[in-house]
Symmetry: D2
């Protein structure tokens, strides 16, 4: 099964600004390398990444999955192929974040919640370190003191500054970050 | 954008029994006619429909979307192409049910909850009337007294007894059942 | 710890009609007998039961818990003491239904979803059999074929026609309906 | 209606350490001043605050509300009076955070998710600035650049170092932080 990579970040960004370019290039690179994308399905970084995905020569219809906050299936950006209309408002961030890997690009508190969920969900997390917002603040840090993968001592939110680095991290780690005991995050 | 049709029903069924055959044929017919499928991603009817989808000559990778109860992305049937790991346990039924149309095949209380959600979500609902379980009990009835679509006085849970009837109902109604005020079910 | 009983039913009912009277008397009887109430926190049956609770001589502030669909903490009926603002829209029905026992009074598809959730959640369920709506349709039936409590062969949705019967059922069964393996409904 | 204040923080702490003492004293002070408490209902800071609440002379049964991750109603600390069993696992953090005000005490990524949700939910947020963990990292900062309350230019995550400061902030701000347009966080 093809892996799905989540893209998180600001829902409003400058067209053709740094965040747009970064998200677009990452979206394209992901599809170039056989991955599918999921995001919150709205504007900004989410839209830029999906637009990039569609610019790939390897793009196939179905490669962009929008996990939207509304029950209204029409509330998504124009590059979404598949819409999952959750009705969960902000809580859908947890579902977005629970992908095979997560890439944060800038972002306010919504993006931060996605990183904060992805960490205890044991997910591989990358964060763009060259734009403003939460992604650069948490790049190359650990979100808390838990040892997630004893066999991966370098585990952290991996800072990335371009699409090539994203693919390198995925090549190196995507298969290793797959531990999920019992399907429950909070172990009682 | 291709429409996504939800398949709901028993998670444990007899292989090659009536429910299996019905779900398989509906899954195949849906892909034959250009639809994508979503389900709860587990066994029984959910698996049979996905298997049918994959047997279609028009099947393309990405046509089966599993919206699973666990956060564990490996807990799905073998025919799922795309996994949305919700962590919502039974509450994920609401997301499954919020598709462009819903088809119930047999089913216990889980399936009933999906029908009960799809109705106020204003969705087009079909229910197999020739197998045991909740689908035949609610086929050709209204789930409550609300007038969902004044312009569709025949609105109800449409009973269906074979895949051709499913496609007929979709051809006739799929574009009409798209009203969703404000993205909220419970209007305060 | 005092048990919490969920009241489900129509959100719009006639003031002083049968459903209002039934819900009011049940709400009063529950507090008279030491129980706390929870509901979806809106109008109709939910409001009537809370009003009844407050009419009990044993009522103490805190006895009525409103589990509301909105994130907006002001969207509740006037008899609510404690507001849990879920933001889950209709999905909050699953949380309402997951009480120590559930009593359905009339109801459309929303109430039906609560019964449909309470059943696999292993909850003690009562349904008013003397008003119209889903409660009388499912009274004295099983929601599906699963054997929930082998040691309680008479397990079903218990039909009730007055507040005394509600208290009798609670006296007899409330302590027995407490089995919940692993905190998960859908056992994978 | 009495306001409900959410307490967030580490689920495992040293008994009688700084976090325990802080949470206990805040819990007590909140009940002393007429507030009710809610938390995730588990151990550590959540338990310490509830224990403090119960030590208040003004404590009444019903003052501690546990919003737990499981559907299993028994999975809560011993000081909980009211249990809301959500089945939402970590996503219940959003409901915990949507209180009349939120107080973070230390905390790992789970606590961070609660702060990250409380911010766009427009809630009054306090964070203990004298213990390790996320609360001191975000104390006296804004979670992102949005102007939440133009009429409160000093809006931020208010750093607090003792229970008196918590009560001062509540006295000053609790009534002002009550803006919640349309009950939706993500405005589409």
């Amino acid at each position: 099964m093809r892996k799905i990579i989540a893209i998180c970040g600001d829902s409003k960004i400058e067209k053709d600004g740094d965040k747009y370019k970064f998200a677009f290039s990452v979206g394209k690179a992901l599809v170039d390398n056989g991955y599918r994308l999921q995001s919150g399905g709205l504007g900004g970084v989410m839209e830029a990444a999906f637009a990039g995905a569609k610019s790939s020569e390897k793009y196939k219809e179905g490669d962009t999955v929008a996990i939207i906050p509304s029950f209204d299936r029409t509330m998504h950006n124009e590059y979404a192929d598949i819409v999952i209309s959750t009705g969960l408002d902000m809580m859908r961030n947890a579902i977005v974040a629970n992908a095979d890997a997560v890439i944060a690009i800038g972002g306010g508190s919504g993006t931060l919640s996605e990183i904060a969920f992805a960490w205890p969900m044991m997910r591989l997390i990358m964060a763009c370190n060259c734009v403003d917002g939460w992604s650069s603040k948490v790049a190359d840090t650990r979100m808390d003191q838990r040892i997630r993968y004893p066999e991966i001592p370098e585990d952290k939110v991996f800072g990335v500054s371009n699409a090539d680095e994203v693919i390198e991290i995925l090549d190196k780690y995507a298969d290793k970050y797959n531990k999920f005991h019992k399907g429950i995050v909070i172990d009682l």
